[in-house]
Symmetry: C2
Subunit: 179 residues, 2 copies
Amino acid sequence: MKKSIVLLLVVSLFLISAAVSDSIKSNNMNGMLDNHKMTQVGFIVSDIEKSATTWAEFLGVDVPDAVIAEGHHMNPTTYRGKPSDAKAKLAFFQLENITIELIEPLGENSTWKEFLDGEGEKVHHIAFEVNEMDETVKKFKKFDIPMIQHGGWDGGEYGYMDGTEKLGVIVELLQHYNR
Amino acid sequence: MKKSIVLLLVVSLFLISAAVSDSIKSNNMNGMLDNHKMTQVGFIVSDIEKSATTWAEFLGVDVPDAVIAEGHHMNPTTYRGKPSDAKAKLAFFQLENITIELIEPLGENSTWKEFLDGEGEKVHHIAFEVNEMDETVKKFKKFDIPMIQHGGWDGGEYGYMDGTEKLGVIVELLQHYNR
């Protein structure tokens, strides 16, 4: 009887430790992210019609229509912690494995305008899809990558995380609802 | 008899024009490139061990070994048209759909060192695989995107094309032999 209890204890401890180790592994396996699929490379441009035309010719595709991104009532835009009425013109090129996003800032108080003024027309961010924006933003902050800008659209929200110092690039987090 | 010859001519012309149109389409459908698969986003860093450690923690993966890229006898390195003995330390992170490449310049006379001095630790290039380096380089030149640096390794060659002005980023062309 004693023997079987000890055996049961040993087996239970083994199973519990295996489960805990699996859980740690699964939490850490993508680091700060939920997956390792880069969904976008985003470029800041000063004249989206001009840049979209050049990229379209470069890629041999039709010039995409530019769309205007503005604040959304569900997730009003904040820039460095303060409300912002910044907008941007966006154009997208869907490549085989990733999307190229062109962004022309409209107005002040955005990472877009700040980047155009400070850096010029260059790669602004790489993007990843996340499951839980708030949780991911917390993880990033612990990793010394603070949020610069947050906002939303019909069906989702975004957060620009300032990885400039640590990674050499801004990381955009995208959460699509109901996916 | 006359009628059937005319009919034959009309059908032939139709088939020829369809073939020509297909060929034009297939030549242009990827623009300056052979495909629309972005294979790399390349970052210039000043200390590859430090950056590789940070990226590894960020992604939740092991720190990759850095490898040294140097000139290859088959494709001696040229930088802005002149021979160069530039080297670099490289580290790679294979994501689900794309590779992140970290590059620490060693020595002078390279786009890597020039970029680190002028721009700092940022996104340096996006890369695409090509079928015929020389043909693609010609197309890029006609599109006002000149080559900055060219070199090779066992099994392939690369060309850095200066898309900074037109696209906001350097485009690296990679040709793997025997693929």
